[in-house]
Structures are given as C-alpha cells and as structure tokens.
Symmetry: C2
Subunit: 152 residues, 2 copies
DNA sequence: GGCTCAGGTCGATGGCGTCCACGGACGGTG
DNA sequence: CACCGTCCGTGGACGCCATCGACCTGAGCC
C-alpha cells in the first residue's frame, strides 16, 4: 500500500469505470502495471466491489429508515444477525456500542412495507424492541472522503 | 425504464466494471444498444456514479460513528447543512423526522479524531446538541437489494 | 398509404485489456 | 565484490471492446 496504490483507490472511489489506460496516465505507470496493482488491491481485500450508485426513488425504493435494535437478554447475537441478513430491505447493519446493539439502514418502497418490516423485526427471536427513524430526505450518502495516507 | 433498463441497473449495482459487451450478452441486446441505454440512465439521473467500495480500515478509517443532531430553534437548516458539507469525515447525511433533525454517518481514523469532530459539530451555529453512537463493527453496508419492478 | 421518430442491428476502426518476455534495482550470501 | 533470486516495472503483440455511422423496422399519426 504505497502512495500509488492510494491514488488508484482514490481514483476508483471517484469513478469505478475508469479504464486501466486512464488510471495509468493519472498515476504515471504503464497499463499492465496498473492492472497488476489493482488486481492485488482486489484480491487483498482493499477493494471489495465496484458498484453503480443508483437514485433509490428511480427503482422504487423511496423510503429510507434507520432502525435501532435492542437485544433480548437471552438471545444470541449471531442468530439475530442471520435473521437480519435474510431481510433484503436491510442495506446496512452496524453492531453498536450502547443500549441498541444494532443499527440498521433499511430501504423500502412504501410506508406500508416499512410497517411490515418493523413487525417482522419485532417478531424476530432475540429482538426485544426496535426504534425507527424515517429519513425525510437523503442529503448525501457514501461520499468518498479525500485520502490522507496513514500517518499524515 | 423498462425491464431491460432494470436488469442493466441491477447488473451494474452488482459489478460496475462490467463491459458493455458483457452487459449486452446478459440482457440480449447489441453492445451499442446497451451503450445508449446506460448513457440515458446516467444522464437521466438514475445512475449517479460508479464507485469502488473500499475496506475502510485499509485506508486508515477504522472508526465509524453515527451522530444524531438536534437543531437550535433559531438556526437555519441550510446553514447547518452547508457546515456539515464542509466536513469531509461526514460520509452520509440524512434529514430525519423526530427530535434529531439530522443523522450523520462519519468515518475517522481514531477516537481522538472523532472527539475533534464532535467538538466541531457542537460548535457549529444552529446545532443545539449531538448524540454519538460508535459502530463496533460493520456487518455489511450498502448491500444492493434485488430489484422488484415498481408494481410487482 | 406514406411520414416520422424511436430504438434497434450491423460493420468498421482505433483504442484498450491482457499476456508474455525482458530488464533494472535491491538485498542476502559465498 | 561478484553473484543471484525476487520484485516490479516496461514494451510489444494480439484479440476483444467501445464507439461511430449507416441502415432497418415497427408504431403512431396525418
């Protein structure tokens, strides 16, 4: 992970469809060299995926909610997690410090679907209670921040 | 936005670096046709960006926090928003229903940096108080959910 | 019917991805 | 010091891909 790798990561976070030739020009290496570096970043787990970022409303997912989960004292966190994983509406899942063990970001089409999701969550074994906040609008999301090399 | 557009979006959400030729094979059109469709999806705002998804720890951003913001009664939400926008640590920003007007997802390198960020947030004009939760681990994030055509 | 337009296919061409052989820099070893 | 792997890069070659223009086809409308 040197400065060139960092530049490549930053370039690809900004635009994942840049060609290797273009990346090569930007970092001052040849295309095969860049190809190899990016390959190593991928297989080394630094780059996890390349994703198109889509306007959620355009694909019928207009409702965003953030849901805090309080765990049952007797429950097993792994089982709860597995149950969450089965629910495709849950886009993100964080294990949190605090009373609410999990924070979920969910995306659904309608408030009715959100209601159904919350019911399902509350019925899930290991879940004691839920607390839902609705996002009225998303100002921005997953904005890449400029990379400062570790130790700068 | 027909079924083919939806497939293209779904394919690109899964892997943004697919070639037009490969997309064409998957949806059963010619490459130029796919090229034109994807171009329209981009310029129509359905596809907002293509991003590489990076392991945050690998680029020195090991601490994830979710911060709720209570607004000052006298403040202007736009000014607050603009102040948030200037803080690169804030990756996502939702305008919420409820007492806490905003929910922020922030990513920093160390707890010390998080402390500094919280101090800056509390000093921001228009911000009455903040409430910070720390993510101990990210189970998953921005998982694309299977697309169901609107009305299915 | 015949016009027009949207949206597709086909063919050509220049650039790109990717494989391979080669070469210099570096560090450990007789 | 000379020697020799190893790492990491370059340059060339070749086939595939992106992209443009020309043409085709079906739907909607005078």
């Amino acid at each position: 992970m040197d400065a060139i790798d960092l530049s490549l990561v930053e370039l690809l976070r900004g635009n994942a469809r840049l060609s290797y030739a273009e990346l090569a020009r930007q970092v001052g290496l040849s295309a095969p060299a860049v190809h190899e570096r990016v390959g190593k970043l991928e297989s080394g787990g630094v780059i996890r995926a390349y994703r198109a970022e889509v306007e959620p409303e355009a694909i019928g997912l207009g409702v965003t909610a953030l849901i805090g989960i309080v765990e049952d004292s007797g429950g097993d966190a792994d089982d709860v997690l597995e149950a969450f994983r089965q629910m495709p509406e849950i886009e993100s899942c964080y294990f949190m410090a605090g009373v609410e063990s999990f924070l979920l970001k969910a995306r659904v089409g309608t408030i009715a679907e959100l209601e159904q999701l919350i019911v399902r969550l509350n019925r899930t074994p290991g879940v004691a209670s839920t607390r839902t906040g609705i996002a009225l609008s998303t100002k921005w999301e997953n904005r890449p921040q400029p990379l400062t090399p570790p130790g700068a």
